[in-house]
Symmetry: C2
């Protein structure tokens, strides 16, 4: 079916308010979240059904979208809709405590699992790229990226600086689509951010949205501002229009050692994502056009230089880590920087310890459409976890700085135990009428027990189990068994076809007692899969978490 | 952990009878079926936990086996045990209508999904090859192979000979592990089987087990016996000690056209599985040792000859098909037989039409251990489906000819609608005490809606969706949602790591009303996934089945 602007305009707005368009709140939640994923304020290219992340879609085509909507409206409370890569393929009898929707996206038999075959099948209309939260109807806009970055720096703070970046100098580079969240994430953690970005327009964009506080063309000035703020304990972010290596060289020469050091240039793509040193942006753009090979070669030379500088600053005491852009890999594999991997990736260093506690990107959405409902949930969360300082900081800053996109939503990382507490509290709010309509609770697939992705989330597992994909499968099955509202298993999200298997879970707090029982189960089991996965891989923190929450099977059986 | 004979002897016998060793019949069923899979009469190498199919195992190692047993004994009726590639990793709270065990076996992130990586992970103790029914505890010995072969020939009979092979001459070759089931399957369908097998001891073995009726060294004599039986309408099987190509040449020369023609030599392995023409078995064995390259080359030459003969006989009117041994592929790819694929594979030709009706390898096991219980179920089945002649023929012959291995079991192919009827009837038998203990109902993963395997079950799908693996995932999820007793998702069964994704389902008929509700749901939904999968791919038979059983989503929504 051709995709035309008529189709999208036909779709209409996301339903909000307290009236049902379906036969129950769970079906209604799925309907609203599907619409929300394709809201023009949320989706990247709603006219093509593309939500985010390349071609991550919410439905296979407009015909499939229409059919899903019809099916959700017709679906009884003891039936389940099956969605095969964005196309509804059947409704089968189940029961009230079963999911209302089951989704499998982009799954291929492994030997055929590459982009070429996938694109062919997609072109034949047989599949769809579901990314993570696009095809599982729980994307909530860019709040997720800010929060993920915030959480990484919060963990840096916890591990090295007593829980706050106050009084620390945090140096990075790259203020693009994802990297642009760094300055905000760092100031939210009370630190000073000094970021090199070679393209001025990128910095201006971050200033406009208030993700960044100040800009300068002078490296000298930038460093001065930063040291001043650090000394005063002020949370400020500074963008310097320059190449990353020039900023780092100035720090090395002046004998200034940042407290933390990372990088989010798009080093994974040497031609399009990274700028070589000793040339202007204009010169680089010309060279890229005229002599791509030469460009790539100069890019890689600069990356090698860049990594050596980072290693030097690490030696001088900077907490240094790779932010998933393959900078280390490029320098190591293509420029022979043998010790490039002496600084760690951000997942093993900062995300995995959180995963070991069952922590991950918990999020919720107010189906009423009323931002006030989220404010109410924010308050409840602050009351529930008074000891969680980074959570409190996040919620307060998010209320001030994060604009809602589509249905009002909030994201924050919660761990084993915390998730069920939050879910039950939200259900109580709905029951008591303190929020206007049910709350949808979900998470990214990039979570503790729901993803196998050897180049990212499961990189360098302690026991070498990076490529084992049983865990996301068990996660999808236990959430189905527990009675999540909709459950999905996807292939290829985040890192592309062939490189990951991951599961999604969404559960609706509609205020009923049945929902309470399901929430207790599902929000216990879902992170528990992650604790068990990391326990099995030999992580001590996971062993502690398992002990605390009585998850260890051997302990139970040896009683 | 080392695998020693002490371990297996420690295991003990499969529990039988009416006393529980666990806290409920579902847990008990899982326990008994796990034991049964490793019964010395059932498993190929129980001491290594290998059940069948290369290294298809029931548990990762003896430590894991012990822990599963302990866990099943401790498991409450509202909890679920998680098994990751043969190792129990946790027990989580669910509810009575959820599966008691969820299993994921051998799943790998696709880019890493090959034997090399798998074997490395296996060696590290991190994974296990689950095959299909080995790691999902529903293997029942060689009855499955006989029945699958029987069903193929029954479908041949239905499509071409009015439902019976009576009065037909069916020619094949290869009477090895699987191929040895052919003579029995053909005579059970009332036809004459004339099979070439080069190794005399293989034929003797089949005579001993009564899978084969007669043997001769003379091709002349074999053909004479066969034509005589065909004329008289007698069901007889004849093994001729000769190379397949010599038998086919004789038929061509004598202008005798078989009614059906296939082959089950192990042509997929040119060195070990196939004998070249113009040499004795002894000469071949010497050549294989001394000059393997030469052996393979001569093998391939013979295969080319073999395929050309089959094409010639097909031209003369023989219903000719490939039986999944890659004979066509070898002749085509390595000896340039351009038209090798002019005769079809057995799945697209004979199995897929059954899949389109939701038919597949339904099986059940008497937990009492008493063969009489199976006899009772056999009778019930005959009463339930009096119009199904091939079913009746199978049951009667199976009662006479098939020896039970381990717990008494029966297999027969049932379709959409039939499976729920059978399941409910068995539950009634349990409730009314007409059988001594609950009945376990399951199936092979090689089923209509549960497997994606482009080189076998999903070869040459009408819409090109061979490699799409969403279907087995949805199958596992809907069976989990419906309340099957245990559910599994596996990778690599049948065709090896990288080449398939498939799901398993087992449900216990314990006589309760709750079980009745679950049986009705699960035995409806499980084959329905297959009907929907084939409907989506454009098969007319599936469209008819969907209409008959009200499975078509568009029909429902356009009401
Ligand atoms: N693994 C993860 O979860 C994760 C999370 C966030 C980001 N990343 C990675 O981070 C990288 C950035 O992502 P993005 O979406 O922000 O990319 P982007 O392409 O939108 O932005 C990259 C920015 O870097 C700037 N840049 C390039 N070379 C530079 C140099 N030498 N000096 C200074 N600035 C330079 C560019 O001008 C651009 O603004 C990507 O490689 C991405 O994969 C990974
Ligand atoms: N796709 C399926 O579901 C399916 C089902 C059954 C069998 N198969 C295939 O069928 C083949 C046979 O399986 P098996 O387990 O019986 O194998 P096997 O190796 O046990 O037996 C093969 C037999 O063929 C005989 N043989 C070899 N070359 C011969 C020749 N030129 N002439 C006469 N006899 C010859 C051998 O002596 C041996 O007895 C395999 O390739 C298997 O993969 C596939």
């Amino acid at each position: 079916m051709a995709t035309t602007i008529t189709d999208i305009s036909k779709k209409g707005k996301t339903p909000t308010g307290t009236e049902l368009n379906t036969k129950g709140w769970i079906q209604e939640a799925a309907l609203r979240m599907l619409y929300n994923n394709l809201d023009p304020d949320v989706a990247e290219r709603p006219e093509d059904l593309v939500v985010y992340g390349g071609t991550g879609k919410a439905a296979r085509n407009w015909e499939a979208f229409d059919l899903i909507v019809k099916a959700l409206k017709d679906l009884e409370e003891d039936e389940t809709l099956l969605v095969q890569s964005g196309k509804p393929v059947g409704i089968l009898p189940t029961h009230k405590d079963a999911p209302r929707v089951l989704i499998s996206n982009s799954m291929l038999v492994p030997h055929w699992a590459n982009w070429k075959n996938f694109r062919e099948l997609e072109a034949k209309g047989l599949s769809m790229y579901g990314q993570m939260t696009a095809g599982s109807w729980i994307y909530i806009g860019s709040q997720g990226i800010v929060q993920g970055t915030y959480e990484t720096f919060a963990e840096v703070a916890r591990q090295h600086f007593n829980g706050t970046l106050k009084g620390t100098l945090n140096v990075t580079a790259g203020l693009g689509g994802m990297g642009g969240a760094q300055p905000l994430a760092i100031t939210m953690n009370e630190g000073v951010c000094l970021a090199a970005e070679v393209e001025e327009w990128r910095i201006r964009k971050r200033l406009e949205t208030r993700y960044l506080d100040k800009m300068t063309h002078s490296i000298e000035e930038g460093i001065e501002w930063a040291l001043d703020a650090k000394a005063k304990g002020e949370a400020i972010s500074i963008g310097v229009v320059c190449n990353a290596v020039d900023l780092l060289q100035a720090l090395i020469d002046k004998n200034i050692t940042p407290d933390t050091l990372t990088d989010q240039t798009s080093a994974h793509d040497a031609l399009v994502g990274y700028f070589p040193e000793d040339m202007s942006v204009e010169e680089a753009n010309v060279l890229r056009q005229q002599d791509p090979e030469q460009y790539v070669s100069r890019s890689l030379d600069t990356m090698a230089h860049h990594v050596r500088q980072m290693l030097e600053l690490q030696k001088r005491g900077a907490i240094t880590f790779d932010y998933g852009n393959n900078l280390r890999g490029q320098a190591h594999d293509l420029r022979g920087v043998e010790n490039a991997f002496d600084f760690p990736g951000f997942v093993p260093a900062y995300i995995r310890p959180l995963f070991c506690e069952g922590k991950g990107p918990f999020r919720w959405v107010a189906l009423s459409g009323d931002p006030e409902d989220i404010r109410v949930t924010d308050e409840v969360l602050l009351e529930l976890f008074p000891e969680n300082k980074s959570l409190a900081r996040w919620i307060k800053m998010a209320q001030e700085r994060i604009a809602f996109q589509g249905l009002p939503a909030r994201i924050c990382w919660l761990g084993q135990g915390e998730r069920e507490i939050a879910g039950l509290a939200f259900n109580k709010l709905v029951r008591e009428g303190k929020v206007k309509a049910p709350i949808v609770i979900g998470r990214d697939h990039l979570d503790t027990g729901s993803v196998a992705s050897p180049n990212r989330e499961t990189e360098a597992m302690k026991d070498g189990s990076d490529a084992i994909a049983d865990w996301p499968v068990l996660n999808a099955m236990i959430n189905t068994a527990g009675g999540a509202s909709w459950v999905s298993l996807h292939h290829g999200g985040g890192v592309g076809i062939g490189y990951s298997i991951h599961a999604g879970m969404v559960i609706v707090a509609d205020g009923t007692e049945e929902a309470e029982i399901r929430l207790k189960r599902v929000l216990h089991n879902d992170p528990a899969m992650g604790v068990l996965r990391h326990l099995d891989a030999g992580y001590d923190i996971a062993a502690d978490t398992a002990r605390k929450h009585r998850l260890n099977l051997k302990d139970r059986l040896n009683k």
